[in-house]
Amino acid sequence: MSQKNEYMKKTLLKEMGYEKKKELLPVIFSHTTPMDVKKIKRDRPFRMVDTSIHQSEIYCLRIYKDGINISTE
């Protein structure tokens, strides 16, 4: 898949010509990808779904607080 993407990207760049691409990108994409996306991403993105969680603990039925308040210090 990545190879295919790489190939498509290369072909596209070739078709567009590098100079042309540099000229076009800000106009076409400035409203969607203006910043370095890596920088915008948060350290902790969406919470990943833990597959070991039981069916009964899916989001809607999940306990919203621990409710026990155990102090371990």
């Binding site: 306990i63 409710g67 308040n69 155990i70 102090s71 371990t72």
Partner: protein
Amino acid sequence: MELTYLRNNKDKYIHVFSCCIPVKGHERGAIYDIQREEIELVPNTMIDFIEYIKNRKVSSVLEEFESDKMAGKYLDFLEKNEFVFYSNTVSFPELSAKSINEDTSVIQFMTITLSEFINNNLDRIISNISDLGVKRLHVHITDQDCMGTIHELLHLLEHSRVTNVSFSMPYQKIDKKLYNNNRLKALYLFNAPKEKVEANNEVTNFFITVSDARMFLPKFNINTVDVNSTAYNIAKNYNLSIYKTVFVDELGKIKFNISDKTSYGNITDSFEEITTGTIKKLSMIWDIKKEDIAPCNICEFRYCCTVTHIPFKTDDGYAVSCNYNPYTAELN
């Protein structure tokens, strides 16, 4: 770069995501991201800034704060953390003030201290736990060898509505068969020689070097902060800390926490007695929102704090005595 982005959006309106809740405190503020379940502590001026810029056009904000570097930084922060977005749509609905998918449980969270009295009335108690709809149960045991008791309790809970059980007990050898029980989530072993945390299947073992003397005393810390949409909705309408949350002592007395002097009923009472008498009395207390309690009303954690402090009456309302001081944003 950021400025270019803003300028490209200048004709759009600034909106705060409805799942991002700015909360102003006394010393500092917080933004709850109740969808991602995160909290950002921010200066109060940022909360004011959010209120001031929301639903306004980007161009008008940029113009007004052209020479203000800090405003630019604030906007950048809000945008990068995805608290705000820009849109051509003028307005988006805010979260409904009462949007609780109300749980059917009468009591949802229960901590119970095992004793001779509790053991002698176990059948009645388990039946009440089940009928009340307790989902999260914690059992405190002081027996030095309690593996058999735990197996028995887990067996008795087999047909209950409890989905999450934990036990606290003195340091001892753990029977590995326990790890196969789907309800069991945590074991707290106090008086342990070394502090450690280990995971076995879905059971987490917490080895604690201290005794159980102060284990259940309400204390604010990062573990008592729960940021999520249900917790927020409960906190807007009830007292999140004590809502459907009880502590049952060794004599079966139903209280809010270990240091509660009031007994609201007994866990060995009939289900009818508990639902008509006990719950009525408990709900009068859990209906007191943090907004009406000092100093919770000026605390940035008032919609996510779950410490089981019980409000007491004062001359001008209600108060709690908390180890977090929101006036200085420091832990005492």
